[in-house]
Structures are given as structure tokens and as C-alpha cells.
């Protein structure tokens, strides 16, 4: 049969490796990463956390501000679940879509509960003598991420 421009798809054909070899390769990679974690040879860890309907990329000692009110008082320690991704200098652990709670631990403290700057909400219709002015100050909370820890229990 003659080869036309539509016989093969336009993307390059990829050959997948052997599943047995792939499984061996995976096991070795997992063992190496586990060894690294248990030896504690990673430097800074960063994590992607889903919090307050937003995804944040956080490391140790950094500040995050939410536009809502948390039920914790100032100075409370909070543990964040819903961790999507954890990475270090040499390796990353990607969750599908979340990572297990016994793998990662992200701790934060509530520093401050203030209000935002006063925003002006004006409604105006021209030629209708309609003018309403409202000042809105949203409550905000400021969190500081204390630690991100991982435990060597991959599989």
C-alpha cells in the first residue's frame, strides 16, 4: 500500500520499553529515593499545597495570606493536608492528585488576622440620579509555613 501523508500520525512514534525492565527500573529508583530520604540528604523542600481554593508553592519560613477567616486563633499550629507535590534538589514526589498523609507533613502557624485595605464599591448609573457608595474591608489571615517534612515510606 502506498504511503500517503495520512498513513502515520504526524507525531513521532514512541516505543515503550519492556514492562518487566520498567518495573525493575521503577523499583530501583524507589529504593534510591527512599535511601536518600532516610539518610536525610536533601536540602530545602518545597511543596505544592491546595489551600483556600488556591494552589500555593511553599517552602520553609514563608508567608501566605488568605482572603478569608480561619477558625484557628492567632498562634495556633495548623497541619495542612491536600499536598499535591513535594520536591527537593534531586527528586520530586508527585501525587495523583494527592500525596499520602503518612508521607508528607506541612505545618503552619496563624500569625495575624487583620482586614484588608478599605476598598470602595461605588454603583453609578448616569442620568438616573443613582449613586451608592460602600466601603468593604475583607478579613484576611496571614500564615507562616514552619516546616515541611517527608518520611521514607514510599512503595
Amino acid at each position: 500500500v502506498a504511503k500517503t501523508s495520512l498513513t502515520s500520525p504526524p507525531w513521532p512514534e514512541v516505543k515503550l520499553p519492556d514492562p518487566v525492565e520498567e518495573a525493575k527500573y521503577h523499583a530501583e529508583v524507589v529504593r534510591k529515593v527512599n535511601g536518600l530520604i532516610s539518610a536525610g540528604e536533601y536540602g530545602r523542600l518545597f511543596a505544592v499545597v491546595h489551600f483556600a481554593s488556591k494552589q500555593w508553592k511553599i517552602t520553609n519560613e514563608d508567608l501566605i495570606m488568605m482572603d478569608n477567616v480561619l477558625e484557628a486563633e492567632c498562634g495556633d499550629r495548623i497541619r495542612m493536608e491536600k499536598v499535591l507535590l513535594v520536591g527537593a534538589d534531586d527528586f520530586t514526589l508527585i501525587g495523583r492528585p494527592l500525596l499520602g498523609k503518612d508521607l508528607v507533613r506541612v505545618e503552619a502557624t496563624v500569625i495575624e488576622k487583620t482586614e484588608s485595605w478599605p476598598k470602595v464599591n461605588v454603583r453609578f448609573w448616569r442620568r438616573h440620579n443613582f449613586q451608592r457608595k460602600k466601603i468593604i474591608a475583607n478579613p484576611q489571615t496571614v500564615l507562616r509555613i514552619n516546616t515541611i517534612e517527608i518520611y521514607p515510606c514510599l512503595s
Binding site: I58, M65, C74, G87
Partner: protein, 132 residues
């Protein structure tokens, strides 16, 4: 380790003014509870007799900013809420902040630049470039 940013709260009111009624009720009932709930905040109550300035709740923070709020014609519950709100704040100015996050170390695995994840020039076989 958490340090409350509020240093002291000064409650200035006059016992005879009519609009300081909420402040007087707050001092009688809720001031002790508030002081007990926030043990690291110092609460000063200083009544100045006679028709003086309007009743004011002044909050001083650890970075030196002083914030004054009028308490004229406010009930004691509202004053309690105001006081807790001031106690939870820090002394930074309330202006528009551009970013809701702040990091000192933004990149862990090295910042991305257009040459990451690209093969090096030595191995690319172009029409003129020969591998050396």
C-alpha cells in the same frame, strides 16, 4: 513560637460624657475577661474627668505604629470585637499589598531559564554543525 504584635491598649475616656457609655460598660464588665484572655497585652484604662476629647482606644504595636479608633457610641460587645481585632493585627500599614505570598528562597531546584531541558550544542546534528 508566636509573639503577639500588640504591645499595649490604652483606653481613654471620660466618665461623664454621654457617648462613652459603651466604654464605661466595657471597663466595668468585659475588661477583666479581655485582659485574662490576652495575657501578653497590657491594658491601660485612663479616665480623664470633665468634658474632654472623644473616647478613643489606642493600640501600639511592636514596630512603633500607633492606631487610634473612636469608641464613641459603641456598645461594649462592639468594643470587645474591636479590641480582639486590634489584638490579632500586626503593626504593618493597611495598604494594598501586591502579592499574597512572600518567600526568601523562591527557587529550590534552580530557577528556570530557557536553556534548561535542552540538549547541549555539542551533540546536536544540524545541517552545518558536525558533532565534535
Amino acid at each position: 513560637r508566636y509573639v503577639r504584635q500588640l504591645q499595649r491598649l490604652q483606653l481613654l475616656f471620660s466618665p461623664t460624657a454621654a457617648d462613652a457609655r459603651g466604654a464605661r460598660q466595657f471597663v466595668e464588665e468585659a475588661a477583666q475577661d479581655f485582659a485574662r484572655q490576652h495575657p501578653d497585652v497590657v491594658l491601660y484604662v485612663s479616665p480623664h474627668s470633665g468634658p474632654g476629647p472623644a473616647p478613643v482606644l489606642r493600640a501600639e504595636y511592636l514596630n512603633g505604629t500607633v492606631r487610634e479608633e473612636l469608641i464613641a457610641s459603641m456598645t461594649s460587645e462592639e468594643i470587645v470585637q474591636l479590641a480582639t481585632k486590634l489584638a490579632n493585627q500586626s503593626g504593618l500599614d493597611i495598604i494594598r499589598i501586591r502579592k499574597p505570598f512572600h518567600t526568601d528562597n523562591p527557587s529550590v531546584q534552580g530557577q528556570w531559564h530557557p536553556l534548561t531541558n535542552k540538549p547541549s550544542i555539542l551533540t546536536v546534528q544540524g545541517p552545518r554543525l558536525q558533532p565534535q
